[in-house]
């Protein structure tokens, strides 16, 4: 059984998506438990796989027994094993948190919604686990289409934002497909390991370089790297809270994973980082992303929009870190994939709880929140500390690697942008803390004994939120282990 774990990883969500959709006609009460069970099962499988990889090394699984490079393989190695665990944990925690939302807003479409949820997850898992470049495109589109639908199910501006997201996302995916076409022309194969074998022999090839640029361009659009980030703030802030909590932590991070995978495993580091002009240009783009994301976040008056611009800046962190081309930078970018997924999940779950209780996330409505929703705000504060980069939360450690990588590469603009972003994040979050802590201002010297009454979000929202917040500290304290036992082993020896 355990040797089929890689297949189970994707089959469980896929099959249960079908079953849950069908369950809608039979007995609706089974939908949620089935969805939860399937996510839990997939999570268990991913943890098992991670353990296997840490014990015995990378696993190559041939789908239906067809041998590569003809057949499609799923490769679980040191790079994607932890990412898989994180993705499934995020999905499971968000499902529990979103239960009350889904039951209220999507009651008639429950089975359809949950089916989409599971399909989206299958797509994300597939992107991370696959070892075939074209299979990645297919799963990319599965994940994207379900994402568009999940966002488009919302109210008011959601369908329009989703349609704009659809346009941009399709351009991105199509570029990626085009890039694969050029890879195929140059190498004749679609299997990632096989391409990596052939690339060194074609080191000077213009076709291959064009393929790299086009693939990366496509992925940059999908991960909302500046200046192709325009779709993200609208799509994520107008989406229903249940969907936002799933899509926001996952989509951009999985796309960044895909970029790391394509850059390291497919094109090999020697080829990817061989053109200094390309690497430097992308790092400058990343710097621009960090600075504009941070500045635009300052201008927002709604909490969820502020968070989406923070995501834009975080994408800049990871892209810049990777394209520094040195060990610390790549380690930082990869570690930040895991950390940022956790941070974003915590933040969006907190916002979801706030919107559930208050009906709005505009700054003026957040007054007295520390008194009204102390547990939610505890989780929010922990996530804020992680985003600012305060030890011992995980955010500090990934920033550590990123800044170290910038110092080693002599990219002082990147280092300055990271520090600038930390300070801006501190300002952003302290503005929220101030409104939630101080207002409404009491008359006199504030000697009243009765603060705002406690009106906390439901348990199903608070518990996953606090679990996610605690994981931020756990990830921080264990980051040494994560890096030495997983990430550093994933980085090919070719990087200094």
């Amino acid at each position: 059984m355990t040797q089929h774990f890689p297949a189970l990883l994707i089959i469980i969500p896929l099959l249960s998506a079908l079953i849950v959709s069908a369950m809608g006609w039979i007995d609706r009460r089974w939908c949620f438990p089935l969805a939860g069970a399937s996510l839990a099962g997939a999570l268990a499988v991913s943890v098992g796989l991670c353990a296997q990889v840490m014990a015995a090394g990378p696993i190559v699984y041939k789908m239906a027994g067809w041998r590569p490079p003809i057949g499609i393989v799923y490769v679980i190695d040191y790079l994607n094993a932890p990412v898989l665990v994180v993705i499934l944990s995020v999905a499971l925690l968000n499902l529990i948190s979103a239960k009350t939302w889904i039951e209220r807003d999507f009651a008639e479409k429950l089975s359809a919604y949950l089916g989409l949820y599971l399909l989206f997850l299958a797509g994300m898992v597939g992107i991370v686990a696959t070892g075939d470049a074209f299979n990645l495109y297919v799963l990319l589109e599965i994940g994207s289409l379900t994402g568009y639908a999940l966002i488009g199910l919302g109210k008011e501006r959601a369908p329009l934002s989703s349609l704009n997201y659809l346009f941009m996302g399709t351009i991105g995916a199509s570029f990626y497909l085009l890039g694969i076409g050029y890879i195929y022309i140059a190498t004749g194969t679609l299997n990632m390991a096989d391409i990596a074998r052939i690339v060194p022999t074609l080191a000077g090839s213009g076709t291959l370089f064009l393929a790299l640029v086009i693939c990366m361009a496509g992925l940059f659009v999908k991960m909302a790297l500046f200046p192709m980030h325009g779709w993200l703030p609208n799509a994520y802030s107008n989406a229903p809270s249940a969907s936002a909590g799933l899509i926001a932590p996952l989509t951009t991070k999985v796309m960044i994973y895909a970029m790391v995978r394509v850059g390291l495993t497919v094109f090999t580091p020697e080829f990817t980082f061989s053109r200094a002009l390309l690497s430097e240009a992308i790092v400058w783009l990343a710097v621009a992303a960090i600075v504009t994301g941070s500045l635009l976040a300052l201008m927002q008056r709604r909490l969820s929009r502020m968070l989406t611009y923070i995501i834009v800046a975080e994408v800049g962190y990871m892209v810049g870190g990777f394209w520094l081309g040195n060990k610390a930078g790549v380690t930082g970018a990869t570690l930040h994939i895991i950390n940022d997924a956790a941070m974003t999940l915590t933040l969006f779950m907190a916002v979801s709880a706030i919107i559930w209780k208050l009906g709005s996330d505009r700054f003026e409505d957040l007054q007295g929140l520390f008194g009204k929703m102390p547990f939610t705000m505890t989780g929010f504060v922990l996530a804020a500390l992680a985003v600012i980069g305060i030890p011992p939360t995980c955010g500090f450690f990934s920033k550590w690697y990123l800044i170290t990588g910038g110092i080693h590469a002599g990219q002082w603009a990147f280092v300055a942008a990271l520090l600038f972003s930390s300070l801006v994040n501190a300002v952003l979050f302290f503005r929220i803390f101030e409104i939630a802590f101080f207002e409404p201002f009491a008359e006199g010297h504030g000697h009243h004994d009765h603060g705002p009454a406690l009106s906390e979000a439901p348990v199903t929202m608070v518990v996953p939120l606090l679990l996610a917040a605690l994981s931020l500290i756990a990830l921080g304290l264990y980051s040494g282990d994560i890096v030495t036992k997983l990430i550093q082993l994933a980085i090919p020896a070719g990087i200094a």
């Binding site: 488009g152 329009l160 349609l163 346009f167 399709t170 199509s174 076409g181 195929y184 679609l190």
Partner: protein, 135 residues
């Protein structure tokens, strides 16, 4: 200039797909009507599909169907150069399915937008949104 023409002639498939892609992209960006944008997206995707199909072609190659006996023939070695490459065609079957699915989702969203705003023209929709936000 004189050797540009042979270059154009030899690589005409690349030029065609590039032009189609740009047409599609132009429609997506410049057109106001949502359905026209969607059609532009479709053209964009079709261009890439054509590109893949075109690279599968080999001069003098025939259809990649191997005639064998009733027990599933083709045991004899196949001379690959005689047949055009079937793999990109298979890949593009998938891509066409993806394109159709995207079209479906896009049109569904367009219908929802139409029900909400009463129009499919983007500037009208933006105007309505601005009015709502102003209130």
């Amino acid at each position: 200039m004189t050797d540009l023409l042979p270059l154009l002639a030899a690589k005409y498939n690349y030029w065609i797909y590039t032009i189609l892609m740009m047409v599609g992209l132009y429609a997506m960006i410049a057109k106001n009507n949502l359905v026209k944008k969607i059609i532009g997206m479709n053209i964009f995707q079709t261009a890439i599909i054509l590109f893949y199909v075109s690279i599968a072609y080999k001069k003098g190659g025939t259809l990649p169907i191997i005639m064998g006996d009733a027990h599933g023939g083709g045991h004899a070695a196949v001379h690959a150069a005689d047949y055009i490459n079937p793999l990109p065609h298979c890949l593009m079957l998938t891509a066409i399915v993806v394109s159709v699915a995207t079209l479906g989702v896009a049109l569904a969203l367009a219908i929802k937008i139409f029900r909400q705003y009463g129009t499919l023209e983007e500037d009208d929709i933006n105007h309505q949104i601005r009015m709502q936000a102003g209130q």
